[in-house]
């Protein structure tokens, strides 16, 4: 199968390094701006909720962080899978960068969710809630991936073995989504992903979506920054890196 040229460029570390270098400052600025706008809108401007009062404002942070954590796992699994099947080192680099970022987002999601839970459900933690369980399991999946990588000295082996684990773990991701439909739980049903009208008030919908975009861009920014560091580390013996270093020092 003849692949187009841009596909080959996508697998070239120097190309991606330079491209990412140009893009990340913009991503950083955009994410900061969006976060500021969304946060102000959601936390200050939007009206209080009929039922939950002011506390509901975590709606502008928690679901977005949780969504990004799941997306991070998918990015990691897809990248690892591509790296495994087509033996592209850069794809493995993406996976390895996405993992700690995803783990952090997952931990934040659990923390913000727990803070939300206390005033609304009366408890910081509800073991029987499927969403909490799945998010916790997602955290363990990230940690398992990182632990498995760390156990191997040969980086190439580590890449490929953990790719298999990541792809198998991706089965957990749909279960998170469908678990809300399958069981009674304290969690709200999906308010955005339903195909009919979303059940969230329009004044709240816009900042909600802005924050979704904001956290997504934030994730991409962190990912590309981390990816550049990972590329430098993996390619440290290659000529183009040596030239970069000399150029920087000279």
């Amino acid at each position: 199968m003849r692949l187009p040229r841009w596909f080959h460029l996508l697998g070239s570390p120097p190309f991606i390094y330079k491209l990412a270098g140009k893009v990340t400052p913009w991503l950083g600025v955009i994410s900061c701006v969006l976060l500021a706008i969304g946060a102000y809108w959601g936390l200050v401007i939007a009206p209080p909720d009929r039922v939950q009062g002011e506390v509901y404002r975590v709606l502008f942070i928690h679901p977005q962080i949780a969504y990004v954590s799941v997306m991070a796992y998918v990015v990691m699994a897809v990248a690892a899978g591509i790296g495994y099947v087509w033996r592209i080192k850069l794809a493995h680099a993406v996976a390895v960068t996405a993992a700690p970022i995803g783990a952090s987002f997952t931990a934040c999601a659990l923390a913000t969710g727990s803070l939300w839970g206390r005033p609304t459900w009366g408890t910081y933690w509800q073991w029987t809630d499927p969403r909490i369980m799945s998010e916790t399991l997602l955290l363990f999946l990230f940690l398992g991936y990182l632990a498995l990588r760390a156990a191997f000295e040969d980086r190439d082996k580590a890449d490929r073995v953990s790719a298999i684990l990541a792809v198998v773990g991706v089965v957990d991701v749909p279960i998170i989504h469908y678990s809300v439909i399958w069981w009674n739980s304290l969690h709200q049903g999906p308010s955005i992903m339903k195909l009919d009208k979303p059940s969230i008030a329009p004044e709240m919908l816009t900042p909600f979506l802005i924050m979704v975009l904001a956290f997504t861009v934030c994730f991409l920014w962190l990912l590309l920054n981390g990816l550049r560091a990972e590329i430098v580390e993996r390619e440290r013996d290659s000529r183009w890196i040596q030239q970069l270093v000399e150029g920087a020092n000279g």
Binding site: E153, D154, R155, D156, D237
Partner: protein
């Protein structure tokens, strides 16, 4: 029918084990792999057998890469490495019977065992055998598959003079009947004959 290696190079992590290896072996040819300990002989043999992948270069066994052989060709390569491949809790005969079932070999196992002077040990669990007996039992499995390519990693280790000459005889007979063999050894003169290709690492 031939085994071909072109521009074969293997890196493990950041260490280059060998680079730019080229050779070709046709029927009745023996490839002797020699080199110091740690020079990559075992790795080369594992790559040829299809257990590991080379970093770059091409290996072809009858036109296919050894690590992606079509199933019909799977019985054609026999690899015997440093490990015996025998289950220590089974007897010699049980191990041989198992491999006969796996490789689809039809052989009189009692004769095979006698040929290698293992008759007295045939019903003994492998864990109670001496190193030489274990090595002989492991090499016995070579006759259970009708393999055309034999890849042997230091096959005469632990063997006494009788055992060594038996194995050398087997390799010679295999080659004479049109087979190909790659043998890694510290004593190349034992195996050397006409048509031997020396691969030095």
């Amino acid at each position: 029918m031939e085994l071909c290696a072109r521009e074969l190079s293997v890196w493990r992590g950041e260490r280059c084990l060998f680079d730019g290896l080229d050779f070709e072996l046709g029927p009745q040819q023996l490839g002797l792999v020699v080199g110091a300990n740690g020079s990559g002989k075992t790795t080369l043999l594992r790559v040829l057998a299809g257990l590991s992948a080379a970093t770059s270069g091409v290996i072809s066994w009858r036109g296919s890469a050894p690590d992606s052989l079509p199933f019909e060709q799977r019985g054609e390569i026999a690899y015997r490495g440093h490990l015996d491949g025998l289950k220590r809790d089974l007897t010699v005969l049980e191990n041989l019977r198992f491999y006969a079932a796996i490789w689809g070999g039809e052989m009189n196992l009692d004769e095979l065992v006698a040929d290698l002077a293992l008759s007295s040990a045939a019903h003994v669990r492998v864990r109670y055998l001496s190193a030489g007996q274990q090595r002989r039992a492991s090499l016995a499995t070579l006759k259970l598959c009708a393999a055309k390519l034999w890849i042997l990693d230091e096959p005469t280790t632990n063997l006494d003079a009788d055992g060594r000459s038996k194995i050398v005889g087997w390799v010679r007979a295999h080659l004479a009947s049109g087979g190909i063999a790659v043998v890694a050894t510290h004593q190349p003169d034992e195996f050397r004959q006409r048509g031997t290709v020396l691969v030095e690492l």
